[in-house]
């Protein structure tokens, strides 16, 4: 079985500074990969490279495009890349304000991707939006409200609904729970876990929170100074870390 995503030796330099160096991995359908590391470890740069927001200096990123097999993303036109980004992929921003349109209603936020791919029946778009609001545990009665009136946790759930409405196969998430209160985090994590399992999503989740990684991810990629220092099964890397840096990272987590 060939992977959904195949990354070979990608790097990004900013002058002398290394954003991300020689990263390779494969991701299969339904697999959740967490990229962990501290600030400046290159994990966010990696996410931007994977999602074609920035171009890699070296290497290749191949994706299993429906009906075409593994395709080097650099060989796709900008229009094809955008099509992927709004149909087959999702991107959940750390700050929901960056991922939502704050000046249109919750329903329009969820419906936008549908309209972007050609949905032209108002009633059907609205029904789908209602359904997704419920799936992310938002009150469907608030469909016509602006997200500005929603709490941070609600905004984040709305952003998730907005991304999942086209049933993507791959979702990128940048610290999806970082900006939220702890009590809200737990609810969101649980929801994400359910959705990822139910929909069979593949996901790349950037997080500095090892507990988030343990709960959501099948596999880990530990990054430091732009390089991958360790990779493996989530519980194995966290319970039996091999690399000095991973050992330090795991040992630094406060136990409760």
């Amino acid at each position: 079985m060939s992977p959904l995503l195949r990354v070979k030796g990608i790097s990004k330099r900013y002058g002398e500074h290394i954003g991300c160096a020689d990263v390779s991995f494969e991701l299969h359908a339904g697999e959740v990969l967490a990229v962990v590391g501290e600030s400046g470890s290159g994990k966010s740069t990696l996410l931007q490279l994977l999602s074609t927001r920035i171009a890699s200096d070296t290497g290749s990123i191949e994706y299993q495009v429906t009906g075409r097999g593994l395709v080097d993303l650099a060989h796709l036109s900008e229009a094809e890349q955008r099509w992927l980004l709004r149909t087959d992929w999702g991107y959940v921003e750390q700050n929901p304000r960056d991922g939502l349109r704050m000046n249109v209603s919750a329903g329009a936020n969820v419906g936008e991707r549908l309209m972007a791919v050609g949905a032209r029946h108002y009633g059907e778009i609205r029904n789908t939006a209602t359904d997704w609001l419920q799936r992310v545990e938002l009150d469907a009665a608030r469909i016509d409200e602006l997200p500005t009136g929603f709490s941070g946790g609600m905004q984040q759930r709305l952003q998730i609904a907005r991304n999942l409405v086209t049933r993507p196969r791959l979702v990128f998430m940048d610290e999806p729970t970082a900006g939220l209160d702890v009590s809200v985090q737990a609810r969101l994590l649980d929801l994400l876990r359910e959705l990822v399992t139910d929909l069979g999503l593949a996901a790349v989740i950037v997080t500095h929170d090892l507990a988030v990684a343990r709960l959501l991810a099948h596999r880990l990629l530990v990054m430091r100074q732009g390089r991958v220092v360790e990779t493996g099964l989530t519980d194995q890397v966290l319970d039996d870390p091999q690399h000095p840096y991973t050992q330090l990272l795991v040992a630094s987590v406060l136990q409760v």
């Binding site: 900008e78 955008r82 000046n103 209603s105 329009a108 936008e112 972007a116």
Partner: protein, 298 residues
């Protein structure tokens, strides 16, 4: 008549020939890519932005000595803006002007398309305040240009969705977005959506000029122009319960005219030439002027 009032000291139609050439090149490109916004070097004009500086520059660039110019504002030939612009070209170009739609070769307009059908030897020039249809939703031009390049117009439907969610129907009644030739999303300028069907397959060339925003765009003759909508909320135009109070027309765009302080009102054709032509042909409405009475004479 007008040639007597022509001012000396200005180039024909005010603009210098280099500027006209630059604008014509932009217009040729606009015609070649229907609905696409072409940047041009908009000049300072002797009237403020928002009063039709884009339309004037387009008209000045295409005007010839044999042209007959009609200028309308909200459908009327005798409102301030229309009178000023007409006088401007009378003085700087000495061209003939008219109020009769069928006699004009160039019609510069703000906010209306004439009711009388246009012909192949006519050019419409629209004054455009905001050329970017997605501008209110996406303020960054670098983004809207990319959306146009990729024909990525879901955002415009988001706006229409919001209208229906909020008002139960698509509330935009003017500057209603259209798709030109199946490719470019275009703002038709603040014409009422009543006029949108007239854009479609029009025999006349239609040019749009936005002076402050420095953009021109065009719809060549016989081009498909579709108004955006939803399958279950199809595009429709305004309808009035009553015919025009002066000429009895049932097929024209009507303006509300307040008659007194007691709530008296009537609805009349916004296109003054159309209304006059019909009245001259003997059509009447409920408020048609009756022969002068003694009271009025007194």
């Amino acid at each position: 008549m007008s040639s007597q009032r022509t001012q000396t000291g200005y180039n024909f139609a005010y603009l210098d020939e280099q500027t006209k050439r630059m604008i014509r090149r932009a217009l040729l490109k606009a015609v070649a890519i229907p609905g696409y916004q072409v940047p041009f070097g908009s000049r300072e004009m002797p009237l403020p932005y928002g009063w039709g500086t884009g339309g004037i520059q387009v008209t000045a660039s295409i005007l010839g000595r044999d042209d007959v110019l009609k200028v309308i504002d909200q459908g009327s030939d005798d409102t301030t803006n229309a009178v000023n612009i007409r006088r401007f070209f009378e003085r700087t170009a000495g061209v003939a002007t008219t109020e009769r739609t069928e006699d004009a070769t160039i019609i510069q307009t703000r906010h209306r398309i004439p009711e009388k059908p246009l012909s192949e030897d006519q050019i419409m020039v629209y004054q455009v305040p905001l050329p970017e249809p997605m501008g209110r939703l996406e303020p960054q031009e670098v983004v809207t240009r990319k959306l146009h390049a990729l024909a990525d117009y879901g955002l415009m439907h988001v706006k229409l969705y919001e209208d229906i969610a909020r008002y139960g129907h698509i509330a935009s009644t003017y500057d209603y977005p259209v798709l030109v030739n199946g490719r470019y999303l275009m703002a038709p300028s603040p014409i009422p959506k009543f006029d949108n069907p007239k854009l479609h397959m029009s025999p006349a060339l239609q040019l749009f000029g936005a002076g402050r925003e420095k953009r021109v765009y065009a719809i060549p003759p016989y081009t498909r122009v579709e108004s955006l909508d939803f399958e279950d909320h199809p595009f429709s135009v305004q309808r009035w319960d009553d015919p025009c109070a002066l000429c009895g027309a049932t097929d024209s765009f009507l303006d509300e005219v307040v008659l007194d302080d007691a709530g008296g009102r009537m609805f009349v054709c916004s296109d003054s030439d159309y209304c006059k032509t019909r009245q001259a042909a003997g059509h009447t409405g409920s408020q048609s002027p009756v022969p002068a009475t003694q009271e009025e004479a007194a």
